[in-house]
Amino acid sequence: MVPLNSNINSETDSFRSGPDETGHFGIYGGRFVAETLMPLILNVEKAYRAASNDPEFQSEFDYYAEHYIGRPSPLYHAARLSEHLGGPKIYFKRDELNHTGAHKINNTLGQILLARRMKKTRIIAETGAGQHGVATATVCALFDLPCVVYMGETDIERQAPNVFRMKLLGAEVIPVTSGTGTLKDAMNEALRDWVANVDTTFYIIGTVAGPHPYPEMVRNFQSVIGNETREQILEAENRLPDCLVACIGGGSNAMGLFHPFLDHPDIQIIGVEAAGLGIETGKHAASITGGQPGVLHGNRTYLLQTDDGQIIDAHSISAGLDYPGIGPEHSWLHESGRVSYVSVTDQEALEAFQLCCQTEGIIPALEPAHALAHVMKISKQFDPSQILVMNMCGRGDKDVFSVAEALGTKL
């Protein structure tokens, strides 16, 4: 049905040249939005291009990245875990040590600086687990902009501490009951808000998805992860790693780590989706492993959907991976074969979560616990002279309640 013209860009011979000027990565990406939003989205693109070429914008980003987020985050050799698994030398890129506890703030910082340049006076965002909502509310407090966060009713129940955090930070959290009351519906509702408030409002999308230029823009803000990793590993090991592993919901932490390394063909790159209760049960969030190409939320990408093209709800123990789509660049990297996409079940992630606590004294978020579960599976394929970098993209404080419940512990 779909022409698979998604090979490496033959003119530049690079995996890093996407998207093209119309926002496509091969057939993926694009700008599938209502006409009401088009002028605004074209303005966002124009403003983003101007900002990218303005050294002042970059230095403003760098200033807050260093002094507010706490960058660079360490690249840490997880020696006990490496020894325990008996495979490669494992490094964690410790984005869980960022202010607010995850990689999400790299992107919200970049976007709010752009919103300020565009003289927007109101910020909206969608959130699933609440991490992106908290990261958005945080930068809104910092820059004194009103913040409205759309969050599915179901997620509000599951993530009460993050809802309270957002409110402490001054955000208004609006429960979304339309559709199935989850992340995808929160995104629909944020788009509806945006359509009605185009003049004043900037929409801070939380992942490498949405209409062009969002996938590219979010990736570039998150590429601080991969760029630092490159410098740090060269400093520590005097060479590049053999393998990169990151978890994928929408895929922003993974794109951020992967992108600077895509043109090094010797580096194996692996994205880990959430298999939930198992791909065969249909209760999962693995858009590439268990979905088909489609069009939603402004872009063409792999989606969980019925044969009739209706979107299916995702399931994962990790609320941050619980989205029925994936960033379009990942769909392209999958079809071009540059990145391998695998999946890990709730159960496997829970085991990795506990191992990480016990061997490294790090309570990971359930999202990177998925990445770690895959590292555990493949470690025997490597020897100790090889280097693997895993993105520890969030800390697990937010997850202790759901992990306790899953392990049958009453708190």
């Binding site: 209502a34 006409e35 009401t36 629909n188 009605a196 069009v295 009739d308 209706q310 979107i311």
Partner: protein
């Protein structure tokens, strides 16, 4: 691209006839399969007799981003009761058995069509008597996806023009459009805000500088009086959410239609039609 076959169609004849009689077009929207296929079939088939000039059938989608609450829940009702894209096409097929004159435009989102296969879809639409398409999430930048195949197949492509469509963009938006132009009178989603007649007058006269196509105005029209006021400044009006709300008002707690649903919806449509007639 061969779109010369679009000069004499049900839609062009409809607007030409109305213009001759100095009348305005009443475009009515219903979600296909709402609340269920059989009731929906009766609702659609009674629209021309109730005074509707052009029928818009919504193709239900799980994630209708550009629609307000009324059409969102009507799509969910339809999907819950087993509506699919294939059945929406069946609905048109059955309607055409008894009515070969009233234009039908399908309105919806791209993903179900993309899954079905864009070329397959436009060919089937042309064969069964669909006259045009309005696909909300396909802006001119993505015309290769469905707009160009639709024109080749002999379907009109109707686009939404909005208050945010500025002078820089208007030519691009009107490119490839035929049949009529659908002016959205308010920024926002369907059925939520009420448009002001004076804004519409200004907006429509601005739009006329760029196109000679008939202009239909929609979003937020709920009463015969409002319909009349808007129709006075345009070539036609579109009413959707208010009709769909009337469907909802005649469902019992379990979502089953009561015995009067079809008549009541048609009575409401007839009232709006009178408003349009007086414009």
């Amino acid at each position: 691209m061969n779109d010369s076959n679009l000069s004499d169609t049900r839609i062009t004849r409809c607007f030409a006839n109305l213009a001759k009689q100095n009348r305005k077009a009443f475009v009515a929207f219903l979600t296909g399969g709402d609340p269920d296929y059989q009731t929906s079939k009766q609702l659609v088939s009674g629209l021309p007799a109730a005074g509707v000039d052009l029928i818009e059938i919504g193709m239900p989608f799980s994630d209708p981003m550009a629609d307000g609450p009324s059409i969102q829940v009507s799509s969910q009702r339809a999907l819950r009761n087993g509506m699919t894209l294939v059945k929406t096409l069946d609905l048109v097929r059955e309607f055409r058995k008894t009515d070969d004159a009233t234009p039908i435009v399908l309105m919806g989102y791209y993903n179900p069509i993309y899954r079905y296969g864009a070329h397959h879809f436009v060919q089937e639409c042309a064969e069964i008597g669909v006259d045009g398409l309005i696909i909300v999430d396909l802006p001119p930048e993505e015309d290769k996806e469905l707009c160009e195949p639709a024109l080749t197949a002999g379907l009109h492509w109707v686009r939404l023009v909005t208050p945010s469509t500025d002078d820089d963009r208007i030519d691009a938006v009107l490119h490839n459009v035929s049949g009529f132009v659908y002016y959205i009178s308010v920024l926002g989603v369907t059925g939520t805000r009420r448009a002001m007649a004076d804004h519409i007058e200004v907006a429509v006269s601005r739009l006329r500088k760029y196109t000679s196509l008939p202009i239909a105005v929609g979003f937020g029209i709920k009463t015969p009086e409002h319909a009349k006021a808007v129709a006075e400044h345009a070539d036609g009006i579109v009413v959707g959410s208010a009709i769909v709300d009337m469907v909802k008002a005649n469902l019992d707690e379990s979502g089953k239609p009561n015995a009067e649903l079809v008549d009541r919806v048609h009575d409401f449509v007839r009232d709006i039609a009178k408003g349009v007639e007086n414009a």
